[in-house]
C-alpha cells in the first residue's frame, strides 16, 4: 500500500513540476506582453493569477508530501509489526516444546522415570523430544534393572546372614557353656574360650551391620517406634555389656534419674545403637578404664550419653567418625575388631527415629557420644499387641 502511495506521489510530483514550469512560461509570456505594452490589463491579471496558482500548487504538493510520508511511516510500522509477529510465533512454536522438555527433564531428575514428552512442533524440537524420550526409556529400564539387582543383593545378604547364624549360635552357645564352668578350666583354656566368644560377637556384629547396610542402601531400613521406658532399656544394655567390660577390668556405671519420660523408639534398634557405642567405648579404652551411661531430659527429647575416659578421638577424625568405614586410630584397629560401619548405621537409625547423634572428645581424656531421641507423645499405657498379652500358662 505504501509502495502504491509512494508511486502515485511521485507521479503527482512530476505533474506538479510540469504545471509549475507551464505556469512560469505563461507568466513569462504575459510579462513580455506587459513590457511590450501589447497585453494590457489581461496580461497583468495573468501574471498575478499564475503567481497565485503556483502558490496553491505548492500548498497542495506539500500536503501530499506530508500524507505520503505518513503513509510510508505507517507502512514501515505495519511491516515491522508483521515481522515481529511472525518471529514471535516462530519463537513460541519452539519455546513450548522446549519448556515442556525442561519440565520433563526436571521430573526425570526428580526420580519420575516414566516421564515422556509429546513429540511435535518444529523438526528440530521434535528430534530433541524423541531423543529425550529415548533417554528416559533407557533410564527407566536401567533403574528397574538396578532395583532388581538391589533386591537380589538384599535377598542374598539376608539368606547368607540367616544361614550363618545357626552354626554361629552353636559355636557361641557352647563356648558360653564352657565359660559357665570357668572354674574347672585352666587359665589358658579360659582365655581360649574368651577369644572364641569375642570373635563370635564380632561375627554377629558383622552380620548385623551387613544386613543394615544392605537395607540402608536400598532405602529399606525401617523402624517401628513405640513408647519405651528409658531405664529398663539402659539396664538391659548394661547387663549385656557387663561380661565384656568386666573381662577388661573396666568399670561400667549407669546414671539414669528416676521419672524420665518414655521415648518413641523401636527398643531393639536403640539397644543396638547403645551396644554399638558401649562396645566402641570398651574396645577403644584400655584396661581399667571407666565407662558410663547416663540419661536426661532435654526439651522434648531424652539424651542418652555414653562416656569413657579412654584415649579420645583426634579432632581431624572426629568430623568423619560417622562416615562409613571410618575407624579410630589405625594403630588401634589391629586389636579392635570392628567393621567401620557401626557408627554410620547408628547415625542412620537415630535419624530414622527423628533424633540426632553427636560425638565430642578430648585426646587423652576420653570421649562422649550423645544420642537424642524424641519423647513419646502419650504415656506408655497401651501395651504392644503380641508381647503384652498375658496368657496364663496351662497348668500341668
Amino acid at each position: 500500500m505504501a509502495v502504491i502511495g509512494v508511486g502515485r506521489f511521485l507521479e503527482q510530483r512530476q505533474d506538479f513540476e510540469d504545471q509549475i514550469a507551464r505556469s512560469y512560461q505563461v507568466e513569462m509570456e504575459a510579462r513580455v506582453e506587459v513590457a511590450q505594452g501589447t497585453g494590457g490589463q489581461a496580461a497583468r491579471d495573468t501574471v498575478e493569477r499564475e503567481a497565485d496558482r503556483r502558490n496553491e500548487l505548492r500548498d497542495e504538493i506539500s500536503a501530499d508530501t506530508r500524507d505520503t510520508a505518513l503513509l510510508v511511516a505507517a507502512g514501515l510500522l505495519a511491516g515491522l509489526t508483521g515481522a515481529l509477529l511472525l518471529f514471535s510465533g516462530l519463537i513460541s512454536s519452539m519455546r513450548r516444546p522446549l519448556e515442556e522438555l525442561v519440565d520433563a527433564a526436571g521430573r526425570l531428575a526428580a526420580g519420575d522415570r516414566s516421564t515422556r514428552v509429546e513429540v511435535g512442533g518444529l523438526s528440530e524440537t521434535a528430534t530433541l523430544g524423541a531423543a529425550f524420550n529415548e533417554m528416559a526409556e533407557e533410564l527407566e529400564q536401567e533403574e528397574s534393572r538396578r532395583e532388581q539387582l538391589d533386591r537380589l543383593k538384599d535377598e542374598f545378604v539376608l539368606t547368607a546372614s540367616h544361614e550363618l547364624r545357626s552354626p554361629l549360635t552353636s559355636v557361641q552357645g557352647f563356648a558360653e557353656l564352657l565359660m559357665l564352668e570357668r572354674d574347672s578350666l585352666t587359665p589358658r583354656q579360659a582365655e581360649t574360650v574368651e577369644i572364641i566368644l569375642d570373635n563370635c560377637r564380632h561375627l554377629v556384629r558383622l552380620l548385623n551391620d551387613l544386613l543394615d547396610l544392605a537395607r540402608s542402601d536400598a532405602g529399606r531400613l525401617s523402624i517401628r517406634p513405640q513408647p519405651t521406658e528409658v531405664a529398663p532399656l539402659i539396664d538391659d544394655v548394661v547387663r549385656t555389656m557387663r561380661a565384656q567390660t568386666e573381662a577388661g577390668n573396666q568399670s561400667l556405671t549407669e546414671h539414669v534419674p528416676p521419672g524420665l519420660p518414655s521415648i518413641s523408639v523401636e527398643p531393639d534398634r536403640i539397644r543396638q545403637i547403645l551396644v554399638n557405642l558401649l562396645t566402641n567405648a570398651h574396645e577403644y579404652s584400655p584396661e581399667g578404664a571407666s565407662i558410663g551411661v547416663s540419661a536426661r531430659t532435654l526439651g522434648d527429647e531424652v539424651e542418652i550419653s555414653v562416656t569413657d575416659n579412654g584415649p579420645g578421638i583426634p579432632e581431624e577424625q572426629l568430623g568423619r567418625i560417622f562416615d562409613r568405614f571410618t575407624r579410630g586410630d589405625a594403630g588401634l584397629t589391629q586389636r579392635v575388631g570392628g567393621t567401620g560401619l557401626g557408627l554410620a548405621i547408628s547415625k542412620s537409625l537415630v535419624e530414622l527415629h527423628g533424633g540426632s547423634i553427636a560425638a565430642e572428645s578430648t585426646v587423652g581424656q576420653g570421649s562422649t557420644f550423645r544420642v537424642r531421641l524424641p519423647i513419646a507423645a502419650a504415656p506408655a499405657a497401651d501395651g504392644d499387641g503380641a508381647s503384652g498379652q498375658a496368657k496364663p500358662a496351662e497348668a500341668s
Binding site: L158, T169, E176, S222, A393, S396
Partner: protein, 122 residues
Amino acid sequence: MATILVADDSETILLLMRTRLEMAGHTVETAADGQEVLDHIAAGVKPDMLLLDAMMPRKSGIDALRELRGAGWEVPALIVSAHQNRDDANAPTDLAIDGYVTKPIDFDRLLETVAELTAQAH
C-alpha cells in the same frame, strides 16, 4: 520348674537348648520339626511352654503354633528365628506369640523370659 517343648531342626542347637534349660532346672522335651511338636502333644506331652524355631522342614514352628492356637491351646510360646529381627522373620501379627528370640541366642535373656512366662507353672 517347668516343662519346655523345644523344636529345632538342628540337633546341635537342640542339645545346646536342652543343656542350658536343664541347667536352669527345667524339664526339656525336644522335637525336630513342627510336625513332631504336634505328635508329641497328641501323644500326651503337656509342656508349660513352647520354644519353636520359625523355619523348619516339613512344618515350621509358626505353622505348628497356628494349628495349636486353632485348637484352643494357650500355652506361652516363643518363636526362635535366625533372622535379625521380627520384620525379617515375616512374623505373623494375627498369631498369639509371646516373644521372639533371635539367633545367636542370648541365653541370659532367654532364661529370664522363660522364667517369667512359666512363673505360674510348677
